[in-house]
Amino acid sequence: MKVLSKIYCFFIYLFLYAPIVVLIVFSFNDSTTMSRSVWSGFSFKWYGQLFSDRLIMQALGNTILIAVVAAVVSTILGTAAAIGINSLKRWPRRLVMNITNLPMVNPEIVTGVSMMLLFVIAVRAMNTSLGIGSIMIAHITFCLPYVILSVKPKLSQMDPNLYEAALDLGYHPSQAFFKVVIPEIIPGIVTGMIMAFTLSIDDFIISYFTSGTTQTLPIYIYSMTRKRISPEINALSTLLFAIVLILLLIVNLRKEKENKEILQDEEEP
C-alpha cells in the first residue's frame, strides 16, 4: 500500500514536471534552427542572446512594471476595502461581496472582452489608444478580489476591542490603525500582495484583450507560438523558474528554522 501510493505520487509529479523538464533541457540546446525536439549539443548561447534581445527585454520590463503597479495599488485599495466591508451592515456587505466574487466566477475570457468593450469606447472618447494604462487597470481589477479574500479572514480573527483599547490608551486613530491594526493583519496583506503580483505576471487572457499595441511577456510568447518559440524564451523562463525555486527554498528553510527554535524554546524550560 505504501509503495503503491509512492508510485502514484511519482507518476502525478512526473506528469506535472515532464513539460517543464523539456523546456529547461531545450534552453541549453545548441541548435541553429530553433528545433523543438532534436537535441544537438549543450550550449549557453540562448542565454547570451537573451540579454541582447531588445524585444524580449522590453516585454519583460513592461510585465514587471505592470505587476508591481497592479500589486501595490490592488493591495492598498483591497486592504482598505476589506476594513470597510467588515464594518458594513449585513445586506450591503453581501452585495459588495457578490460584486467581489463576480470576476472570480466569470470566465476570464468574458472578463477580458467586457473590459475591452469599455476601454475601446473610453479610449475613442479620449482620442488615445489602449496600452500599458489599460492593462494596469485590468490587472488591478482582477487582483482586487484575491487581496480582499486574503485580508478579510485576518480582520475577522482580530479582536475588535484591540483598536478601541488603543484609542483608550490615548492613541490617535491613525496611530492606532498603523501600530495596532496593520501589524495584526499584515500576514494577510503580504499574501494578497504576492498573489496579486504572481497573477499579474502570468496573466495572458485579460492582457490579450486589453493591451492594444503594448507587449507583455505572455503576449510576446503568444505571438511567437504562432510560428515557433525561440529558445531564448526557454532560457528566460528557466531563469525565472530558478529564481522562484530559490526564493521558495529560502522561505521554507527559514520557516523550518523558526519552527525548530520554537520547539527548542518549548522544550528548554
Binding site: 475601446v120 492594444g212 507587449q215 504562432r226 510560428k227
Partner: protein, 403 residues
Amino acid sequence: MGKNWIQKRIAFLFSALMIASLCMVPASAEEDTEAAPDTGVTINVYNWGEYISNGVDGTLDVNAEFTKRTGIHVNYTTFDTNESLYSKLSGGGAEYDVIIPSDYMVSKLIGEDMLEKLDFDKIPNFKYIDDQFRNPAYDPENAYSVPYTWGVIGIFYNKNYVDASETTSWKVLWDPKYKGKILMFDNPRDSFGIAQKILGQSYNTTDANDWQAAANLLKQQKPLVQAYVMDQIFDKMDGGEAWLAPYYAGDAATLVENNPNIGFTIPTDEPTNSFVDAACIPKGSSHKEEAEAYINFLCDPEIAAANVSYIGYSTPESAAKELLPEETVENPIYYPPREIMDKAEVYVNLPEDTNMLLDTLWAEVKMGGPGESATLVAVLAAFLLLYIGIVIHKRRKRKRELQ
C-alpha cells in the same frame, strides 16, 4: 561551357558593382554623421509574422537601421491573418501608424474609410515601384497604399513521401493517401480559394451556391486535415510533422533552400492566387509624417533588397531586384513564369453579405456542420431544470425534517 561561365562571372561583377555603388552613399553618410538624433517619437508598425529582416545571422535589422538613420523608434508587432488585422483595427482600441494588409483588405479598409491618404511628396522612393504595381485594382488611384511585396500561393510537399508530379493540382490536398499529414490555411479566404479553384470558380464570386459548394468540398477534406494553422505551417513542414501544405511562395523559397526534404510547386492544372501586400497608414495615426518616412525607407531599393532576400517574397521594384543574386531572380518560386502569372487571379474585396456568408461557412467547416439552436436551448433548459429540481428537493427535505 566556358562562355556560360564568363557570362555568369560578368553578371556577378556587375551586380557586385551595383551593390557597392548603391551602398556607398548611405554608408559613407552613416560613418560621418553617426546615428540621427533621437526624436523621441515611436511609431507602431503592424506587420505579418516573420515579414521583415530582423538582424538574425548577420542580416540587416530593418527597424534598427530605420531608428539609426531617422531617430524614430519602432514598436513592431505582428498579426497572422488579414481578418485579425481588421478586427484589431476596428475593435481592438489599438493605434497603429503603419500596417501592411493584402490587396483585398486594402480595398475593404479604403471602402470603410479606415485609411489615411498618403502624401507622396514624403515618399519619393515610390518612383522605384514598377509600373505594373501602380494604380492596382484594389487602390485604383494609388492614393492609400505602397506595395511592399508580392507573391503567389503554392504547395509545400515532403519529397520523401510525396512525388512532385502529384502536386501540380490542388486536388492532392484531398488525397486520402495523405490523411493526417495535410495542413490547411487557418483563414477563410485562402482556404476557400483552394476549393474554389478545384471547382473552377472565381475567387470573387458573389453567388451563394458557389460558396456553399466550396464549403462542402472543404468539409469533405476536413477528416484528412491534420490542423488548420497559419505561420506554424513552416515549422510543421520543416520538422516533418506534415507532408503537404499550401503556403505563400516567399516563405517556401527560404524553407526549400534550408531543408533538402522539402519541395514546393505552384500548381498549374488550376490557377493560383497572386497577392500584393501593401503598406498603409490607418486613420487616426498620430505620427503620419514619421509613418510616411518609414514607408519611404521600406521602398529604398537597398533596404527593399535586403528585406526580400531575408523574408523570401518578391519585390515590386526592379531596382531592388537588380541587387539580388541571380539565382534568386531566376528562381521560379520567387519570380514565377508568365504563364502562371497570366492565369493567376487576385482576391477582390467581397460585398458585406458575401463576407458574412463566408464567416458562417468557415465556422461551419471548422466545427463540422451548423448546429441546431434547439440543442443549445435544450442543454441550457436541462441544466436549469436540474438546478430547480435540486432546490425544490432540498426545500421539501428541510420541511420534512422540521416537521
